[in-house]
């Protein structure tokens, strides 16, 4: 894909995304200033944050354009995950993930 991206509509959409994301970020603290949450609800919110992150990790590791990516990326992410589990620094986690995926692709695994 090397054709130039049609700029004005894409730029407008990007600016709208920036504005919308900012409003989403503002609304949480603004809502909380008005209502006091019971402790249980606070715990459930923490759980939802973890749920969203876990789902994001799974879908971005395993799928691309609605289908399975092929084994190279998830195996790389898994390697990074093992390093993270063993409390390796973040940079090591990230480089291990990319390195594994790159080596697998070099060996012909997609």
């Amino acid at each position: 894909m090397s054709a130039a991206v049609p700029l004005p509509p894409t730029l407008a959409a990007m600016l709208a995304l920036a504005a919308g994301t900012f409003l989403l970020r503002l609304s949480g603290p603004a809502l909380r200033a008005r209502i006091t949450l019971p402790e249980r609800a606070g715990k459930l919110l923490e759980v939802s944050a973890v749920l969203l992150l876990a789902a994001l990790a799974a879908t971005s590791a395993l799928t691309e354009d609605h289908v399975f990516t092929g084994p190279a990326r998830p195996l790389g992410v898994l390697t990074g995950g093992v390093f993270a589990w063993r409390r390796a620094p973040f940079l090591v986690v990230v480089l291990a993930a990319a390195g594994t995926t790159a080596l697998l692709r070099l060996a012909g695994v997609r």
Partner: protein, 232 residues
């Protein structure tokens, strides 16, 4: 302005925490590299991922936005998908401790809200430390993410096949590493795994972004698992 990384007693954030924050910012910069490279090889001008990096400052939505446009999708679809992915910032904003401040500073504080800063803030025990960790990590990412994107754009205009470098494995690895500590709790782990499985199951059928939000349907499971744990 009072120094951000000093507690009232003048004690600085300890070495290990500072090192963790620095390493996360560095990792975000490296992921930014992959983002800039992917954007440029998809046909974007070099400044586009950099500008989007500063203004949107939310990695997954930016990857998605670039991916949808590159696949020939409409800007409206890319916008909606990006907003959908970023909808998690609303529950984040409810969960994050009181660290943002007020007025103009509060607005910047809200802009710095992301997966990493929320995790660091939640992990500290004292309010002052929560605030310091949040702001230091947030400002570090505000610098590292766009700089990484700019370097990646440079790289992408030289290396044609960035997939060969395995850069696409970086972002999921960072998110996984951020989530792992919370998964030591058994009820939480089971709930999160069910949610992730649900999201994966519906991914082929739903627009991008929606599967992640649908993982929240596993939330009632947490209450059930906690009860089961208490009985044992």
């Amino acid at each position: 302005m009072r120094s951000l990384w000093r507690t009232p007693k003048g004690r600085t954030l300890e070495g290990p925490l500072l090192r963790d924050i620095a390493l996360v910012c560095l990792a975000v910069g490296v992921v930014g590299l992959s983002y800039g490279a992917v954007a440029v090889t998809s046909g974007f001008a070099w400044w586009f991922p950099v500008l989007m990096g500063v203004l949107v400052l939310a990695a997954s939505s930016e990857f998605l936005f670039v991916g949808i446009i590159a696949a020939g999708g409409s800007p409206i679809a890319a916008l909606l998908a990006g907003l959908l992915v970023n909808a998690r910032h609303l529950p984040f904003g409810l969960a994050v401790p009181d660290v943002l401040g007020r007025g103009r500073r509060g607005a910047l504080g809200a802009h710095l809200m992301n997966d990493e800063t929320v995790v660091f803030a939640l992990a500290q025990d004292e309010p002052e430390r929560k605030r310091a960790a949040y702001w230091l990590c947030g400002l570090g990412i505000l610098v590292c993410w766009p700089v990484g994107a700019a370097l990646g754009a440079l790289l992408g205009s030289v290396v044609r096949d960035t997939g060969a470098l395995g850069l696409d494995a970086m972002f999921p690895a960072v998110i996984l590493a951020l989530t792992l500590p919370a998964l030591k709790d058994r009820p939480l782990r089971r709930t999160a795994l069910s949610g992730a499985a649900l999201a994966l199951t519906v991914t082929p059928f739903l627009p991008a972004g929606l599967p992640v939000l649908l993982a929240l349907a596993a939330l009632p499971l947490f209450a059930a698992e906690t009860k089961k744990e208490a009985r044992q």
